[in-house]
């Protein structure tokens, strides 16, 4: 038997979350004494990329009907090839849409948002994110078969190169219920949930015209940009950048919060960040209590100076 893992790609290119999911599957397989089989739909990337993280076998599903994403059709396709007791998915938007449907198809338990390698295999028990980052739950599956979705940036990407084999599986899955009308992928922009560094700003920036310096700092750091809820509510920044309890939950290595006071709802979405830097003109901002490093001062002076210093360090 094998531990199966869904290796998600976008337009054929593997996501970082796919490598993290394969790394997680490898950790599970080491506990169960099994091998890892990765499943991907219409990838163009080489399977070598998945062998690097521990996948001994890669099944590439080839199907024109799956050219466009449909949760139902993808669940059907994965269901046809995955037959292990443990199926690992990344907790990306698409994969976490497929996983619940697949759990019903296979009559497996589903544990989402998992953070660590399982505490036990039989029964399967694992720590997961709950209460929007304000707590953790140790969840136990009551069925032998289990599907987990791995919270992005939680387990990490771990190299573990093996020699693998590739199998191409030609399927014909029907997808008559949904039709893609348009698809917009922002090019050159880092995916917020996958980013190692995130620079985020709030109302303290005074207006959308001042975001240039935030983007410049992000650019120097190779970071994604984010914002607080009020900022996306007013329309200064798109909804997709809102991090917090009702926005995106993120867990980067470094989170820099500029002009964000740190309401409990905001903290919920970002307190899994490994290092938090808070820059605010208000010395009483509650965010400092949850930060690793803090600077009290005028962001309009601090950010350009900080950007220049980091730029100089990076040469």
């Amino acid at each position: 038997m094998a531990v199966f893992v869904y290796a998600e790609n976008i337009n054929g290119v593997y996501k970082k979350a796919a490598f993290e999911a394969v790394s997680y599957a490898k950790a599970v397989a080491e506990k169960t004494g099994e091998t890892v089989t990765a499943i991907s739909v219409n990838p163009t990337d080489s399977s070598d990329l998945l062998y690097k993280y521990g996948a001994e076998k890669v099944i590439n599903i080839k199907d024109e009907g799956l050219k466009n994403f449909s949760a139902k059709a993808y669940a059907q396709a994965v269901s046809e090839v995955a037959d292990g007791n443990v199926l690992v998915f990344p907790h990306t938007t698409d994969a976490s849409s497929v996983a619940p449907m697949l759990a019903i198809m296979k009559n497996y338990s589903l544990i989402t948002n998992v953070l660590e390698a399982p505490e036990s295999i039989s029964p399967f028990q694992v720590k997961r994110r709950a209460f929007s980052g304000k707590g953790f739950m140790h969840a136990k599956a009551d069925t032998q078969g289990v599907i987990v979705t791995v919270s992005q940036n939680a387990f990490g990407v771990k190299e573990n190169t093996v020699s693998g084999t590739e199998e191409v599986k030609n399927l014909t899955v029907t997808n008559e219920d949904t039709k893609v009308l348009s698809h917009e992928q922002s090019s050159g922009k880092l995916d917020l949930k996958e980013a190692e560094i995130v620079v985020s700003a709030g109302r303290g920036m005074k207006g959308p015209e001042n975001w240039g310096m935030i983007e410049e700092l992000a650019n120097v750091l190779g970071a994604a940009t984010a914002c607080s809820k009020p900022v996306s509510d007013i329309g200064w920044r798109p909804h997709s950048e809102h991090v917090g309890q009702t926005g995106k939950a993120i867990a980067p290595n470094l989170y820099i919060a500029v002009g964000i006071s740190g309401a409990i709802q905001h903290l919920a979405g970002v307190n899994s960040s490994k290092t938090i830097v808070v820059i605010n003109s208000d010395a009483e901002a509650p965010f400092y209590k949850s930060a690793d490093y803090g600077v009290v001062g005028d962001a309009f002076q601090i950010i350009p100076e900080l950007t220049a210093k980091i730029k100089a360090l990076k040469g």
Partner: protein, 248 residues
């Protein structure tokens, strides 16, 4: 057109989350309960479709009697009727089974939910309901229009968005953007008064199997005290991030 909106009753977003002394359950003491904020976007969208297309909106909650104020609030926002499935929700699967059971007998054209609840963050119920009903499923929906027997949905994808047409009946899980935050409906006195007389049906649960149990819970560990750096010493901040935190 019949729309079923599934709502969850969750702790208010400002709630501090505590667990019982033995850490085996969430401590509900002193908690204010609200409609799951992500469900509220779906509910508002349904009420807008009621206004524009004459849709009949049923709001459904799987919960014990203490969730009724939240269902009444949904009725005050504009839902036509409410259903409470009398059960203490245990996991995504058992909740999805109860919802699918109601949906199967109700003949709904559209089932709307929030993409996840802000308490247990499973994000699993909508997709499970769709599969149990063998209907198409759109997650993370940030825009929705109904055109006869199909909908045009805009869904968020990682790093972008996609517009798709979906045949009804379908299950759609929404989030902020499905309606704007400013368009969320705050019940007025007329809505609150009329909610009192709207039907709220209570049905016994079918007692579905539970597949995942919460064994224990932990709070988030506190961080070490913040290290403050003065704005005239940003070299020190860069040094700390580079040498101590090693983040770049």
């Amino acid at each position: 057109m019949k729309i079923l909106v599934c709502i969850s009753s969750v702790p208010d977003t400002t709630s501090k989350i505590n667990f019982t002394a033995d850490k085996t359950a969430f401590d509900k003491n002193g908690i204010q309960w609200v409609i799951n904020p992500l469900d509220e976007f779906a509910l508002t969208k349904a009420v807008k479709l009621q206004e524009s297309q004459g849709a009949v909106v049923t709001v459904l909650n799987v919960g014990e009697a203490l969730t009724e104020p939240v269902i009444r609030k949904a009725l005050a926002i504009g839902a036509n009727e409410g259903i409470r499935i009398n059960a203490d929700p245990k996991d995504s699967f058992s909740v999805a089974k109860e919802i699918a059971n109601v949906a199967q007998t109700g003949g709904y054209d559209l089932i709307l939910c929030g993409k996840e609840s802000i308490d247990y963050n499973g994000g699993a119920v909508p997709g499970m309901v769709a599969q149990l009903l063998n209907q198409p499923f759109v997650n993370a929906c940030v825009g929705l229009e109904v055109n006869g027997g199909e909908v045009t949905a805009v869904r968020e994808i990682d790093g972008g968005k996609e517009t798709i047409s979906v045949k009804l009946p379908a299950v759609i899980a929404g989030q902020k953007g499905m309606v704007d935050e400013k368009d969320l409906i705050i019940p007025n006195m007329r809505g609150i008064m009329s909610a009192r007389t709207k039907p709220l049906h209570i049905q016994e649960a079918t007692g579905s199997e539970v597949k995942v149990h919460g064994v224990s819970y932990d709070s988030v560990p506190a961080r070490a005290a913040v290290k403050m750096v003065t704005p005239d010493n940003l070299d020190e901040l860069v040094r700390l991030l580079h040498e101590e935190a090693k983040v770049f």
